[in-house]
Amino acid sequence: MLTRFTGNRLVGGVALAAGVALAAMSSISVAYAAEQAAASGVKDVAPAMRRISSDQYTNIVAAVFGPTIKVGGRFEPDIREGGLFAVGASKVSVSATGIEQYHALARSVAAQVVDDRRRDTLIPCRPASTKAADDMCARQFLAKTGRLLYRRPLTNAELEARVAAAGASATKLGNFYAGLQASLTAMLVSPQFLFRHVALEADPAHPGGMRMDGYTKAAQLSFFLWDSAPDIELLNAAENGDLHTRKGLEKQVDRLLASRKLETGVRALFEDMLRFDEFSTLAKDTAIYPKFTIQAVADAREQTLRTIVDHLLVRRGDYRDLYTTRHTFLTPTLGTIYAVPVADDPLSANGTADAWTPYEFAANDPRGVGIISQVGFLALHSHPGRSSPTLRGKALREVVLCQRVPDPPGDVNFTLVQNTSDKVHRTARERLGAHATEPMCSGCHKLTDPMGYALESFDSDGAFRSTENGAKIDTTGVLDGIAFADAPGLGRAVHDNPQTVSCLVDRVYAYGAGRPIAKAEREQTQALAKDFAKDGYRLPDLLRHVATSDAFYRVAP
């Protein structure tokens, strides 16, 4: 399989879909479903395949083989579409060099699984001889592991091919475990593992229609809520047909929502939605912002995620309050940027050192009001050497409100904006004010800057300031007609903006479905938004509504 993929230099989703079709899928292929949908006049279909993300790869390996397996290596780059990698995942494939990387990863993982320390735990049987093939033991391991990796049982042909490969390798190498390693490696580079497939079956409730099969539903559910593959219980529910019943589906949804793995899923959702992948390239001019170390970057990202998890899952708080909450968590490193006391000696619940301390900013403190006033958002949406009302306003529009802000024209003169030592225009507001008098610039700046000005009390590294170049900073601003005086006021305006809620609902739905919301689904998402409001804007309730809705599993909306 590997040879065929690298040899053909498969770079497109269609080509890869063809490869997958060759892999003897038992259900009707997605390509066929697309044809059926097209014939019926429906334009949007469920995505053909979605490549699993690097985090999903890691989560699956940890779930199947345990967290001590090291997954180190480079993954193929993702594409953000409709604001989400989860949507872009259906547009990406694997390059020739990508296959080599996946192969290196797979070999490493497989070697760790069969090594002396782990084999007795991870392999459910012992071969008659460690120096020879043992088809029975290999079959037992590969069937069990393959079901978890492929998110469905292996077909007979697949299983026997893997067993035969393991046997041939074991015989040649004189080592049963080396044979098992070779076969496991092949499974880990298989498109059946690296891509999520939509398998269809006839829908008895709608004669002539199609529906996702149980395993596809199970994967849809587990990747949505856990950012990982289904566990054994969920696969069993799929196998038994439980996921096609209302009761069975709700039982599994509630189980997944009650699991600690939900935190992983919620983190993944917000990392995607808030574009936290950009932290990997975030850097500041350390001569200007010496506190913004590598540790600060890592902590800033984690601070926002901890705030989200604590507020939405632990406290079951109102989603909108994420933009006004004063509760957060800090490390000593972040304490230096916020300029608040944070000691580094608390112990975590299990007695080990934990650098994180719960922290609540005072009611009259302009710092730390909601996640948009946290170091992560502020630093992520600034320039390396200066803050940016424009970038911050643009991010608010695009990330929080799901609006599109056009990119600047290619021939804009930024000299005035970039001159932070300008003696005349000492603040960013003054510089942008002068810059935005140019007609080609003013249109977009009106969309972004009036919001971003409120965050000007925070420098590019997120540290609070009241002056810039000796001039007092004016933090007044406007968001969609709502005026405010400062960052807390902006947080309140975002909290009260109806699009803050509808944006989240849309993102959550698209994230889970792995595709942009089709026009035909608008009614569905509006209904979800209403339910979300009725439930007090509690995220777990929204997730439950989405995960138990029929639309979420429809092949075509």
Binding site: K291, T336, A339, V340, P341, A343, D344, L347, G351
Partner: protein
């Protein structure tokens, strides 16, 4: 009161006082309190052309050549030894230099027995200027302060060692010996904390100045300097708690007397132990504190901060530790031993740079069950 006598009962009383000071009075006694963590602390140098009229002291390799010559080594033998002296040379070579002292004609460790070889008589700083304070009240003896223009500045530590190349620098440059020592101490030893308390620290007035040791070392920012606005828990031990009277005048913090005792680490700074403590710290816009701290220091403490490094550091720092001992002993200028008359303390002046910090009282480590 001398800093060189602290009884056991006094230590217990001091412990209680320290707990009270850190845990309670810090919140109640003063209207305003600001803390700084020390980011730079070394001998204050003011090296200028011509201030060592007899020249700069020989490098350590020149010293070693002389040692070998005095041992009767031939020029060829000396060259053979020096051909392989990188990184201190092989063990046999190291032993030669480490055991260059002689007692009853037998080789002894020179660092442990500095009197086992004659005083090499370091050349002294005989220029006009040096940082420090007029500690003895005599305006006609000593240097002139380069910034304060105070007359009679006593800084015999600088006089003793300031003509060694690695102790020479003109501000803002830093002497290489200081960089070597301080960087090691800063990154490994509990940080030193300065806290100033008063009614309004932006105005002139009397203040209380606390010198404490933290429970952890300072951390660095992306430029390699001690990061500002970090948080430190204060060591409750009275051994490193000091409360001195001070005053602020025109944004400069002055200390005019008192004893100061701060533990360092066994390797770099055994301890800072000052009598007749003086300070002149500028409270700079942006929150930094910079200035000079001086007083009388037991010169043996200073010597140990050199000799404890041993041979490798002597080579790397290129300063004759044996010469350090004799220079400090010879130029010590205070607290004579009542029996021998030998002065036990030497006037010193340190350059201090500090950035703002938060302080918290020490908190006992909580067990998992307790949480």
């Amino acid at each position: 009161m001398s800093i060189f006598r602290v009884s056991g009962s006094a230590r217990l009383a001091g412990w209680a006082a320290a707990l009270f000071a850190v845990g309670f009075s810090a919140e109640c006694a003063a209207a305003e309190s600001r803390s700084w963590v020390v980011g730079w602390f070394t001998l204050a140098t003011y090296s200028q052309e011509g201030d060592c009229s007899a020249g700069i002291n020989p490098s350590i390799y020149e010293v070693y050549r002389t040692v070998l010559q005095n041992m009767g080594k031939t020029p060829k033998e000396i060259e053979t030894i020096f051909s392989d002296i990188g990184n201190g040379g092989p063990p046999a070579t190291q032993e030669l230099f480490i055991n260059r002292g002689r007692i009853d004609g037998k080789p002894v460790n020179i660092y442990d027995n500095p009197m086992s070889a004659p005083d090499p008589k370091f050349r002294e700083v005989d220029g006009k200027y040096a940082f420090g304070f007029n500690l003895d009240g005599k305006a006609d003896t000593g240097y002139e302060g380069p910034e304060s223009h105070e007359r009679g500045v006593d800084n015999q530590y600088y006089r003793a060692l300031g003509c060694n190349q690695n102790h020479r620098a003109f501000p803002p440059d830093r002497p290489t010996h200081a960089i070597y020592i301080w960087n090691g101490a800063r990154d490994s030893s509990p940080a030193w904390i300065i806290t100033v308390k008063g009614e309004n620290l932006d105005q002139d007035g009397e203040v209380t100045v606390l010198f404490d040791r933290a429970l952890k070392h300072a951390t660095l920012d992306a430029t390699g300097n001690v990061v500002a606005d970090a948080t430190f828990r204060i060591d409750p031990s009275p051994r490193s708690h000091n409360e001195l009277k001070g005053r602020i005048k025109d944004s400069i913090l002055y200390i005019d007397d008192g004893d100061l005792h701060l533990l360092g680490d066994p390797f770099n700074y055994v301890k800072l132990q000052l009598a007749n403590t003086h300070a002149r710290f500028k409270l700079l816009p942006g929150g930094k504190l910079e200035g000079i701290l001086g007083g009388y220091m037991p010169w043996m403490n200073l010597y140990f901060s050199y000799s404890s490094h041993g041979y490798v550091a002597e080579v790397n720092e290129s300063i004759n530790y044996h010469g350090v001992y004799h220079a400090l002993r010879r130029l010590a200028d205070a607290y004579p031993d009542p029996k021998t008359g030998q002065n036990t303390a030497i006037s010193v002046a340190y350059r201090v740079e500090a950035v703002r910090a938060f302080t918290l009282p020490a908190e006992p480590i909580k067990s998992a069950d307790a949480r």
